[in-house]
Symmetry: D2
Subunit: 151 residues, 4 copies
Amino acid sequence: MDMNGSYATSDEMHVVTDDLPWAPFPGVEDSGFKLLRVNRDISGLTMLLKIPEGVRGPMHKHCGAGEYMILQGHIDFGDRKLGPGDYFFEPAGLRHSEPAPDEEVIMLVVSYGPIATTRPDGSPGPVVDAELMAKLWERALTESGAVAPAR
Amino acid sequence: MDMNGSYATSDEMHVVTDDLPWAPFPGVEDSGFKLLRVNRDISGLTMLLKIPEGVRGPMHKHCGAGEYMILQGHIDFGDRKLGPGDYFFEPAGLRHSEPAPDEEVIMLVVSYGPIATTRPDGSPGPVVDAELMAKLWERALTESGAVAPAR
Amino acid sequence: MDMNGSYATSDEMHVVTDDLPWAPFPGVEDSGFKLLRVNRDISGLTMLLKIPEGVRGPMHKHCGAGEYMILQGHIDFGDRKLGPGDYFFEPAGLRHSEPAPDEEVIMLVVSYGPIATTRPDGSPGPVVDAELMAKLWERALTESGAVAPAR
Amino acid sequence: MDMNGSYATSDEMHVVTDDLPWAPFPGVEDSGFKLLRVNRDISGLTMLLKIPEGVRGPMHKHCGAGEYMILQGHIDFGDRKLGPGDYFFEPAGLRHSEPAPDEEVIMLVVSYGPIATTRPDGSPGPVVDAELMAKLWERALTESGAVAPAR
């Protein structure tokens, strides 16, 4: 994967997601992601995201908005319980830590900007941007021996 | 739904898609869409799209790119057969008519621009943009008596 | 210029705009544009646009939003007169015909979607999208003998 | 200015930039910006940026791409010298510190994502995103007594 090259843009591609490995999502234990596309201009990305039962993510802030469609499992949002085929939109700028789900959840994420993390002492942590995610993904592809998706 | 107001932007929202009706997609017989979000600045939208078995869509051109995740059914792309959980990316500018699927297909569509249609005589047809889709959606919501999605 | 290749994306580039010719903007007499960038995914573009004194543009609708900064000349917007260094934002969906300026106006345009035109009889006209603009630009570059901008 | 409200989106607006004060750009001595628009979904913004003669900016990384048009002064890019009316595009992901210009430079900036800063010891610094810039801008407007731009 070449962040300066064709992958980061928009060539036609068809991805059978079962062909891809789960790469560890930075900072979330036992989680996984499958990177489907990088939108280089805005540091955005499209991925499958797997959150294990009982795992709570770290405090973070999405600099951009995000669209989510649940593919497996359920998530509670106050009085609504969303499951497979349901959708939520998260506007830019929310700072939060997701509650731990009661079961493994897999969702499609279309993200429109990087994630700014915060260290436990309140100081700025690393920025999880598309460049970092693409590096982690490339490493996971190499380690798994998986073939990169058609582009 | 107010194209000049808050819906068109990015307030937090959670959508249980079973709560929503299927609105007829313009120009595709027996099809349906559930509008999830309008990205007003680029005339983009996020929707569920249902294509019935055996129905071939009309010739059209996507002015923007599109991301697709199949939720139900299968679609053939040359030597790849994509099914639930699989993903494809269509770059901007393709002019085509989708082949008819062998079974009902439901997919999530994230579209980054309007669709330019062509009349059978080759002359320009109407442009299917986010504004038109929002009007069709509002009508379908009203007719169905469904409650508009939380925003 | 290759709409399927690297130009359409985001490589580093520096453009001395005086090096570039004015290409005729489709449908606006004696006008000119200098294409600076194509944002392929959304059929967006960045260009310099020159409108001659006394020329009124045709009826059209911007499917996407647009940002404008005036570089030369003045435009009246009701009770505001904007000149060099001033800015205006046009949300998506407006259908209008610009009033003729009292003097030649040059502005920077950052456009987030194609333009849908309407024929005098009210029927849909051609869609002016990034693909068409890139073709017109390539032709103008070839005819002028200008060197394509560094990318 | 309300990041959750209408400013952050795309209502029609006309801005006479001379009406606006210069707000200090964070981390760049004697610099100034005039915020013209926030693109909330991607933490993007449009602004005028003023860099004084001889001032070198800090090391930083643009998470998103940026478009720049010079309105006053000149900047050297290797063998090209860009001046008023010239344009450059900076792809996402570059980590750099701009060279100090020989004269005051004012340019229009359309930015498609936040800036990640690095502390002198190499650790992550604050993220300069649209939310922070909007706060700094609101403060500058209040202190100057300027009227907020028409929206």
